[in-house]
């Protein structure tokens, strides 16, 4: 058990060191910031899908809600950025509470239901009728509080917290309870696990992560539109990174993000359609030959994966 925690801690330290030191080696902070955003989102998907089996296709809804709640508390209420990010996380939890009836659905129904929910939030936020409040489709401008250095550090802290939470879940009774619920909710309930409460905890936790990450993203990018923060590709990237690496582990989403996002940055920006093609082929290969992700290569040899 202690050894397992140690492995988790190693992954944690390596990730945080990488993101702290990389900008001084290769000065493209925005790239690493995006990488951290996807890493944190992938871990959020990991908490929900990996541990409870709910695949949130509309995960971006929480991300966008967090971004907008943060931005609006800065522009309308003049709250400093860091408390505003916390408000962003809170707003996502509120959205999570509103959407919690979705947890009654299972499998593909949940995936599609959450997708519909995120699109609804998008159409409400971007509606020209609400221009006085959200500025409708014309986006948000936060240049007055733009501080790339500070937002980068905030993001490192968020990634550290998220990684910490995932390491805790991976090694705790809570995580075991969630996995038991995923495998068979009825038996888990019989074994004394409070199914509804534990499942809702994972859902709110995952919503809060996306909200906080969205808030930090809004602060860092400072000018954005509803289409930027409610882009479905954000959900899909996070899900594919998680699955590619391997769910229910701390290491999986990290590996998936580094490999696929790194790959995306090497060829995806100059030749998007060729990247899309290779990406699609990679996904097929993954589904057909490595359905449990990259970490299953290690697991098959009998190694423990944190």
């Amino acid at each position: 058990m202690r050894k397992h925690l140690l492995y988790g801690a190693i992954v944690f330290v390596v990730v945080i060191l990488l993101f702290t030191l990389l900008p001084s080696v290769y000065s493209n902070e925005d790239l690493f910031f995006q990488a951290m955003v996807y890493l944190a989102l992938a871990q959020g998907v990991n908490i929900l899908y990996g541990f409870t089996g709910y695949l949130p296709f509309g995960y971006v809804g929480f991300f966008g809600t967090g971004a907008y709640a943060t931005a609006l508390s800065i522009t309308l209420l003049h709250i400093p950025p860091i408390p505003a990010i916390l408000i962003g996380g809170l707003a996502s939890v509120v959205l999570g509470i509103l959407l919690s009836p979705l947890l009654r659905l299972s499998g593909a129904y949940f995936a599609i239901g959450s997708l519909a929910a995120s699109q609804m939030v998008y159409y409400i936020v971007s509606n020209p009728a609400l221009q006085n409040l959200t500025n409708g489709p014309y986006g948000i401008n936060l240049e007055s509080v733009y501080q790339p250095r500070a937002s980068y550090i905030t993001m490192i802290v968020i990634v550290a917290l998220v990684m910490g939470v995932v390491i805790y879940i991976r090694n705790s009774r809570f995580g075991l309870a969630l996995q038991a619920i995923r495998e068979d909710p009825v038996s888990a309930g019989m074994a004394g696990i409070h199914v509804v409460r534990q499942r809702a905890m994972a859902w709110f936790l995952s919503a809060m992560i996306a909200g906080v990450v969205g808030g930090a993203f809004a602060w860092h990018i400072s000018v954005f539109y509803p289409t930027t923060v409610f882009d479905l590709n954000i959900s899909i990237f996070a899900i594919v990174f998680t699955l590619f690496g391997g769910v229910t582990t701390v290491l999986g989403p990290v590996l998936g993000m580094f490999v696929l996002y790194g790959f995306y940055n090497v060829i995806g920006i100059s030749e998007p359609q060729y990247f899309q093609l290779i990406y699609g082929v990679l996904i097929l290969v993954l589904v057909l030959f490595l359905p449990s992700g990259m970490v299953s290569l290690m697991k098959r040899r009998g190694h423990y994966v944190p």
Binding site: L55, P185, L232, L277, V281, I283, L284
Partner: protein, 291 residues
């Protein structure tokens, strides 16, 4: 205004039914959500576009050819990938990712081959007359598209309820295991259903330039979500319920467009969400909710 909205809603609704029915057939038989549905529809639309602009062929003819080609492609995709997919731990979820991959590949190839510019077919390609229905004028292309949709849907009905393979298909929808144990070749039935599902998508695609406006290689994702809302309103896994879903969807979107245009985009998602929460099996379906 009211009669116009109702009639155009019904015409549009028939097309919407055709748009969703292929997705629903595949879901009903295999329990797979075909996230590439819209992309197969897009391929059908481009097929009709090239047939019309290069060879002057009517979209109605392109539709027939596409149906045959797509049945073959669908069966091919089934035998190449699905048996392997079924051996994994969670095939239902993995199939989402799998079809997402297919959708990415189709979109990428379509962008490389057709470029990103929107294309459109002149609306008179399906006839240029103006029909009078209850004192309201409608473009012939809308009326003809709705008619073709109705004919194709009727053919699906004949296939499901009046052919031997259709009986087998409905048996597999009911329960794969029971169907297999009564001697039905589940793989063969599923492969045919997959082919027909994709063929129906491309059939809707040939009509889409007339009802949905210009076509682009990236139109697929939105269409997939719209088709979802249609089949969920109808009921998942019951292809003929889709007709009801399509009509409701067509009517409500026409009403929103006529009376509250700025909120019209919200309709499919709102309907989808409400029905999922309150009647997740769709208006005609049986209970599917779990603990």
């Amino acid at each position: 205004m009211l009669t116009y909205t109702i009639i155009s809603g019904l015409l549009f609704g028939l097309f919407c039914s055709l748009m969703g029915i292929g997705l629903n057939l595949i879901f009903g038989v295999m329990r797979f959500v075909n996230l590439a549905h819209g992309d197969f529809l897009m391929l059908g639309a481009f097929g009709a576009y090239f047939a019309y602009t290069f060879w002057g062929l009517s979209p109605a003819l392109a539709l027939v050819v596409e149906i045959i080609v797509m049945i073959a492609i669908g069966a091919l995709i089934y035998y190449a990938f699905v048996p392997r997919l079924l051996r994994s731990r969670d095939p239902e979820m993995l199939s989402l990712i799998f079809f997402f991959g297919i959708s990415q590949i189709i979109q990428a190839i379509a962008v490389i081959a057709f470029s990103n510019n929107p294309r459109s077919i002149v609306w008179s390609a399906l006839g240029s007359a103006n029909y009078q229905v209850l004192g309201q004028g409608f473009q012939e292309s809308w009326v003809v598209s709705a008619l073709i949709s109705a004919i194709v849907i009727a053919l699906v009905y004949v296939y499901l309820y009046h052919t031997k393979i259709g009986y087998a298909t409905r048996a597999v929808m009911g329960s794969q295991e029971e169907a297999a144990s009564s001697g039905i070749n589940v793989h063969r039935v599923s492969a045919i259903a997959m082919g027909i599902g994709l063929a129906l998508a491309s059939a809707a695609g040939t009509l889409s330039p007339f009802l949905l406006g210009s076509i682009t290689p990236n139109m697929g994702s939105d269409i997939t979500t719209t088709s979802f809302s249609i089949i969920i309103i109808g009921s998942l896994g019951n292809p003929l319920g889709t007709v009801l879903g399509g009509l409701i969807y067509g009517l409500s979107s026409m009403f929103m467009q006529s009376y509250v245009p700025s909120w019209a985009n919200l309709v499919p998602y709102l309907l989808l969400f409400l029905i999922l929460l309150f009647k997740p099996s769709g208006l005609l379906g049986k209970v599917v909710r779990h603990a």
